[in-house]
Symmetry: C2
């Protein structure tokens, strides 16, 4: 025989820690087999039902009612347990954070700790926006742990913060590491040169933990909250965070992690990441990208891979070589002409160039809108595959017969808008026994034609071959260089190098007017000092990490009556 | 003053090498400034026009007419040059391949070289299918270099080959390496454990060259031709090649390169690649994938990256650890239940599992069709994010309060269809001070429940933390293991390991009935022996590589009259 007894308490506020401990304490009372202590939401009542704890009495409870259910073998034990509820709550309340760290209000805490840059907010969602607004009024950055905060509140808070040079991490920001100190849920990780910006909680934790496990270390890990990268919020916090880490001299590599954002926000953030200059590893979890790397931005698909790449990149290696100098060209020179003998090389080059030049025309284009009207006439950026069927009827492949390519090279060199000509030179059995012997006079002549017109023409040649090929690769490369060509042995490297210089030549100065006031580096560079409003354990963690902290003994104003609270808050702000 | 003289020759056949040399020789005649020797296609006439070589006389020439144009300073020089055409052609014809390697027909060549596995075909496109068909009739594999071969011919040739255990590389297969010998255009690359299957020419060359440059080496590189991966051709050659390399004991890592195939063909080939067992690096150039790795298949986006991955993977490292054993489970056990506290960990796990289990339901699903009807009730494979807002109203986050998770674990363990339970255990500041203390009794009990029902329940725990976290990670891991859990520190590794075992438990035996007769390994494992029909230079390359070769002095039958040739071919086949 089991007895179940229920008590409903309306309108009273208890924090979640108190409720968890109450439930545990009740379960451990003599003669009690199970207990439930929950707010009366539908989901919570369903959960009670699953544990056979939902009796009729509790079914009528609402979301603001506290439901206490005790199950036991005999009526008197159950009764006795229920009778102890107030005593158990009081016992818990007197525990927790040491008195010395406590303040009664955010205002008084701020006075006690005037250097505090951050306010941690972990009060229930429906009160959280109000507390965050108070913190912004006090000119504090906000770590907003609370969930169940409305999208409108999030947008308003972030807009206001951005206009004041403040940052709001969250809502639903479970974790962050600021200047070595973990906020909310955070692992203890080695300090080092990697900075993380992540939308969510455990994603950030998993990445930082794996970085640590792989021997790397972190400067900061900034959380944005799961909705930050939506079009509505428009990634305000992510942009601020990227910008902070860009300016932080100790951060050498940046990691950006988020669930897949909208394509618009994704494209803008990738663009922002490219402007950062430092290596950035982007993991838009499950967001498919055609390329794995664009300039300084590398894409990863899992947390493990993200961590691995970040650690690799944080070991300086000087991966990006010389590169072409945009300053050498005359004004008006801005176009690429690619003259390829290899179809797949031409294809890969177009694919890589797509990240640098939006429009590259071709007779073998990536998509049909980019098809040249006439294969014999280049327009703007054009890349010709001379091995296409149209050119090989009754004629040898261009890897054997350079005649067509040389005629075309001559023609392109005369175009005053052409800055770079990109060629492949494929060695190996079957190919021309000495392609350089034919190409070098043509390259030298092309460069001379440009020089005669007062221009600098860059000819970039990709030599595809091995040191064992019959042509003698080293000799081929030497001859091409002597003719003035820039020589690469990787199509990838060549296309990127060409892409970068042409992007520079075609860039209209768009200094990306920042829509928000720059966040001062002191937010992350000064020793962390914080005010915690909400969960005791967050204060305890900060104490354990030797960070300066004051805990606010927060209770909802007006006994949790939201309408009343709202009125009070407005009055306060006006004052 | 310039003079241009044109000569048109109708219906005569000359191979492209002869034409190239004729053009060069004419250009070098005294008093000649430029010359053009082309078949009279529209594209070629346009090209002549660009070089100011198209006079009215040539405009009327058709695709089967040879157009010879000579430009020079005076009429007599031009006249003299034209008069030498026959002499120049004859001079070239007597050069080229040594007499000892020559045969007059494919049949006689096959008799001279009965061991020849391969016939190389590089005759003009309109004759190529006929020669390839002859080669198949002689039970030879075909390397079909020629382009301008019709799609219908390609399909017919490949179907016929597949039904006989033969392979047709191409058409438009520029390159291949068989047993260390380069066919067509091919680089001299180190021998080693990497096998390549590639659709196209220079893509294959660039990958093999980069592998060599990075210190790696190759077994074989098989070409399929650019259209092989279309839905019409259905990747016949790619499938045969993958299968050959799967069975080749010397190939340890396989590379598969192609322009993006149709999604259907791509999915089927990836599936085939997974069945290979050996590591496979796939580069469907520009084909966006959400994941970078599925089991043994890794995706690359550029040739450089492809080569790099292949070389890395060819150094044995034992990357795949123990793994779970599908044999331990009872029949009927086939489902996963994931009980996560971390939202992003739950998200990543679903994303990774998608490659193993088509349908994983969740309360925080990847797409809305996969949303659980009721978050409290699992169905089939289910993964629950217990940190979702619905569960946290008035309740602590599951990283602090394990109560809900333990109740759910208990329930799932009682389901006889459940095989694996996947949990995360997040350590760090702010999280539960000793999660193992609560989870281990629950895990032990869950496993006991299953055992009592005669089942094996695998509980896999991802511990996310560092060795400096306040919980003592090593102790947490030890305790979880003692309770019978399999512990991983990477969400990625855990999800893949769980995915693999569940995929095995849910696989209906689909031994992928091969639609074609298996190609005998002798095609690639015996010393290469070949008959070359077409370009002299291909024979010369084979001789240079010390491969056995006979060159066929091919001329189109019936003087190149295709209707007549077709009739002759049919008569021959019937005989």
């Amino acid at each position: 025989m089991t007895f179940v007894k229920t008590e409903i308490r309306s309108g009273a506020y208890y924090d979640s820690v108190v409720l968890m401990h109450l439930q545990r304490s009740l379960s451990q009372q003599p003669g009690v087999s199970d207990a439930g202590v929950v707010m009366g939401t539908e989901a919570n009542k369903d959960l009670l039902a699953q544990s056979n704890l939902l009796v009729d009495e509790a079914r009528g409870a609402g979301a603001n009612d506290l439901v206490i259910v005790v199950k036991g073998e005999d009526e008197s034990s159950v009764q006795a347990a229920i009778a102890k509820v107030d005593e158990l709550i009081a016992a818990r309340r007197s525990g927790g954070v040491d008195q010395e760290y406590r303040s009664q209000s955010l205002e008084s805490a701020a006075k006690r700790l005037p250097n505090a840059q951050w306010v941690l907010v972990s009060v229930p969602g429906r009160y959280a926006a109000g507390v965050a607004r108070q913190a912004l009024d006090l000119n504090k950055h906000v770590f907003l742990y609370s969930d169940n905060v409305s999208l409108d509140d999030e947008i308003a808070l972030k807009q206001e913060a951005a206009s004041k040079g403040l940052i709001v991490m969250g809502p639903d920001c479970g974790t962050a590491i600021v200047n070595g100190v973990g906020l909310g849920f955070a692992n203890k990780v080695r300090r080092g040169p990697i900075g993380v910006v992540a939308a969510s909680g455990t994603g950030l934790q998993q990445v930082t933990v794996r970085i640590h496990q792989m021997g790397g270390g972190l400067t900061h890990a900034l959380g944005t909250g799961g909705r930050d990268l939506s079009e509505e919020v428009n990634a305000v916090t992510a942009r601020q965070s990227l910008d902070l880490l860009r300016r932080d001299p100790d951060t050498k590599v940046i990691v950006l992690v988020s669930k897949p954002p909208s394509p618009k926000v994704a494209a803008e953030l990738i663009e922002a990441a490219r402007r950062v200059g430092k290596p950035v590893v982007v993991n838009f979890i499950g967001y498919a990208t055609a390329m794995r790397r664009v300039d300084n931005v590398t894409f990863a698909t899992t947390f493990d891979e993200t961590a691995e790449l970040a650690v690799q990149l944080s070991h300086p290696s000087g991966q990006n070589g010389g590169g072409l100098d945009p300053a050498k060209f005359s004004s008006g020179q801005r176009y690429l002409r690619g003259l390829f003998s290899g179809g797949t090389l031409a294809y890969e080059a177009q694919l890589i160039l797509r990240d640098y030049l939006p429009t590259v025309y071709s007779n073998a284009p990536l998509k049909k809108e980019l098809r040249l009207a006439d294969s014999l006439t280049s327009q703007e950026h054009s890349l010709i595959d001379l091995g296409e069927d149209e050119f090989t009827v009754g004629r040898l492949h261009p890897m054997l017969d350079n005649d067509l390519r040389i005629r075309r090279l001559d023609k392109e060199a005369g175009d005053p808008q052409v800055a770079v000509i990109l060629l492949d030179v494929v060695l190996g059995y079957g190919a021309h026994p000495n392609p350089a012997s034919e190409l070098t006079p043509a390259i030298a002549k092309a460069r001379q034609t440009a020089a005669d017109g007062g221009r600098h023409l860059e000819v970039v040649a990709v030599v595809s071959g091995t040191d064992e090929d019959p042509q003698n690769m080293a000799d081929q490369i030497r001859a091409l260089k002597e003719a003035g060509a820039v020589v690469e042995t990787s199509n990838d490297v060549a296309a990127r190098s060409v892409g970068r210089v042409l992007r520079a030549l075609n860039q209209t100065s768009q200094a990306a007017q920042s829509p928000f006031v720059e966040v001062d580096l002191s937010a992350i560079k000064q020793p962390l000092s914080a005010i915690n409003v909400g969960l005791d354990s967050f204060t305890e963690s900060l104490v354990a990490q030797a960070a300066e902290v004051v805990h606010v003994d927060w209770r909802p104003a007006a006994g949790g009556n939201e309408k009343m609270m709202d009125i009070l808050a407005r009055m306060k702000r006006k004052a």
